[in-house]
Symmetry: C3
Subunit: 354 residues, 3 copies
């Protein structure tokens, strides 16, 4: 396997995805076989914003492979607060460790880290941009439950405008065939055009609907997300609408017997308490799968040797990227790196059009 870093799910070829999925399934079946796989190896988790859930999932994954974990979950207690560059932090931490997991509120931070890292880098979330191990988790769960990632009817419900998880899942499933997405949201929170416009390939399609009731009976997968109160104009508006998108036992009665309900978690009140006991809810199994797929990913990436010094890059001239949330506008030494995607020039860090 040549994959060195996981910054974006689309870095993986479908062959690499298959290999990773099969490894995760093998680990899940027989974890004891893998418990010394990463013995003597150290995973560093640099969490520039707290996310206990994601951090625990990576820690557990490494520990169950026999490895050990260092890191921080609060940049205020780290050298970051003394004004150190991301580049320096990465160079030092990857002098100590064998694999790096980074979460950072600034878009492109994981890509930037990989430039200077002596060890493989995993993106555990870079602002509103990408969160590829959540996508791996979702795909593993769907694949395990449905036996395939083709030909599914997948409902996505809640905040489709701001949900990084939903965007990534649609892009990822869009690489497979004949899937039909049912987008369930208010007009204010509908999926952005730049996501929907790519859906047409590989025989995939989408429709938009306003209520859960009108579509739940058709779904193979229902992917729920949290709606944040502050996205609505007023409390009243929130109260009025949130019920429409709340998953209740009544709505579940309209669904197929083999529906699988997923959720990236944590959830608040978008799913009624009693729905948790419905055997079609699979979000806790999904969370557990997150551990197995991360084990597979870490096990694969740990096969790489640590490199020597990072290469020298030219200092940038002018502004790299129009996106103010892009790491290239925060860490001034970063080289200007662009790529061509469907005839457009894009920023390598944050994927913005230039």
């Amino acid at each position: 396997m040549k994959l060195r870093n996981l910054i974006d799910f689309n870095d993986l070829t479908l062959g690499e995805w298959d290999e990773l999925y099969e490894l995760a399934v093998r680990i899940k079946k027989n974890p004891a076989e893998f418990r010394d796989r990463c013995r003597g190896k150290i995973l560093a988790t640099l969490f520039y914003e707290p996310s206990t859930r994601t951090q625990m999932s990576f820690q557990t994954a490494m520990m169950r492979l026999g490895g050990k974990v260092i890191g921080f979950s609060d940049p205020n207690s780290s050298s970051v607060s003394k004004g150190e560059t991301l580049r320096d932090t990465v160079k030092i931490v990857t002098a100590y460790s064998d694999i790096l997991v980074i979460r950072n509120p600034i878009e492109g931070a994981a890509y930037a880290s990989a430039l200077y890292s002596r060890v493989p880098v995993i993106n555990a979330g870079d602002g509103g941009h990408l969160h590829p191990t959540q996508t791996l988790t979702d795909l593993m769960t769907i694949s395990e439950l449905k036996g395939s990632l083709d030909g599914l009817t997948v409902g996505l419900c809640g905040d489709l405008l701001n949900g990084r998880t939903v965007h990534s899942l649609i892009r990822a499933l869009g690489r497979f065939k004949n899937n039909r997405f049912v987008l369930i949201s208010t007009p204010e929170l509908r999926l952005p055009d730049y996501v929907t416009k790519d859906v047409g390939e590989n025989g995939n399609s989408y429709i938009e609907v306003k209520t859960l009731e009108e579509c739940i009976g058709d779904l193979d997968i229902l992917y729920m997300t949290r709606i944040q109160r502050e996205r609505f104009a007023s409390k009243e508006e929130y109260a009025r609408q949130s019920g429409v998108y709340r998953l209740t036992t009544d709505k579940m009665k309209l669904a197929k017997p083999d529906l699988a309900v997923l959720h990236p978690l944590p959830k608040v009140d978008e799913i009624a308490y009693e729905v948790d006991d419905d055997p079609r809810t699979m979000y806790f199994e999904q969370a557990e799968n997150g551990m197995y797929i991360r084990m597979a990913l870490i096990a694969k990436l740990c096969e790489h040797e640590r490199t020597g010094r990072s290469p020298a890059y030219p200092l940038p001239e002018g502004v790299c990227c129009p996106n103010p949330r892009c790491i290239s506008n925060h860490e001034k030494y970063l080289p200007r790196l662009t790529k061509e995607v469907s005839g457009e020039t894009r920023c390598c860090y944050c994927d913005s059009r230039l």
Copy 2:
């Protein structure tokens, strides 16, 4: 051993206690024999209020058994702060781990967690309610020093009103025979009636006294506790009284040569600095025993297999419990669970009378 969770010391039969104690003594004598006992296992420590001491003791215990540890010590950096229910947190964390230790300021939180946990649960303190591993630590130390838990004269000094540790110790020793408790406190901080009223069984008894001097010569065990300044009406009142209950070398001269002084630690100034050097003070040995008895407990509980999904419980109707600090009044989905104790109906979570 059938014990699956440790929520309350009284969950243990005396036979189970004996077994646990003997295992702890064996571990203490020969720790190397146990250093791979929990290899490949993961302990999760969910500390909803910080308690470095207790958390370190559990971490060390698991590490000395060859296991690994995940967890948090500050709920603000966890998904809890996003409004996740305790039930969801427990379900997810026990999808990752093999044993769960929980500390939570709300009474009954450990009991509630055990309802949804797929792995054994240990209560590391639920508000002012219970702290059973402290009780295990105390009993192990007394048993080791005195050879028995029967027929002892045990002084308890300090804040007997608010001291959860003292209440638990009296209840626990009350299950053994012919112990005599000497309660040493101000009238304001005396032991509550609901604790003393059960002391009469098994030949046990108690007396109340006002000073250390008048009783220290009779004691086999002196259990000191911290008096918090804010419990007194005024600074002057505190200054006047705290000296009466301060353990000094002068008072130690009145004690028997085989007195053992215990303290749950941390201590502030209730014991004079120089008393630490008296060979009859045993609180640091007691802290060390805390590690061994936790090792024994973890080793035992880790023998259980992880279960599948937690059972479905009916949603509650009406208020479960009159105690506003009870978890059933904070987590609204918790089923109404009650038990009969000495002819009274009590809340299973917090033991309040209904």
Copy 3:
């Protein structure tokens, strides 16, 4: 090896230093050989002020030796905040662990801890006083790059007044022979007289200069440090002077091909971004060496058996030390301990003259 604690680099004989250095080099060459050296052992890291970098370095070192780590990085979440004495914390934590690393903003805290510890103690920084493992790191790097610690021309640039690291390095190199120190700083930030006055021994010498340009061509080692903005009278003054001491590619052109640039890190802007790519910069290698020399130190100290109770010390009478930042003025029970150094009486905790 008889060394039990590392409080001050000068606790080491030169023979012990050699032994430690050789072990570190062996570990660096063949880390796999040492990966079970500390199996079953626990390192406690008590960080009373946060220092992620140093703490990570110790954690990694212990983990790469097969050991495990407990500790805290924030005293507010520990029993310290309840008013516990340092002595009690040390006694309890060393009942759990096999080796103790302590960082504390108060001078002499590590020395004081060693009085009560049942296991070896490593000083990871006690206020502005000492930071011996940084000195070990620096010496290892110089020795590895230059083959010797004698006969070198060593530039030290930046804040020489407040830099604990620089003072320790000069003292340490002063124990070797024929080194020449070039002190590069503003008059306000020059090295204190009490450091320079001891330089004359063993054929060592120093000169003071005002600019990097005038001396960089002579240097074998250039040791850079951070200048804090607040050390200057005004922003303008800082802006004017900081450029003089900033290491740029232009200045690097004046240097010898085998110059080695070191820095204790983190750095801010005292070294231009592009200088990092100069192969003569060695600070990231230095950081990595910090891990290997700490591995060597931990491996050596872990050979000691844990002791029983700490000895009793007499309570002090009067003030121990004129230094208000000395631990003996903060922890009132500490015995008065002094030593004779070059005919002067000094405080054992903080080295102040009495």
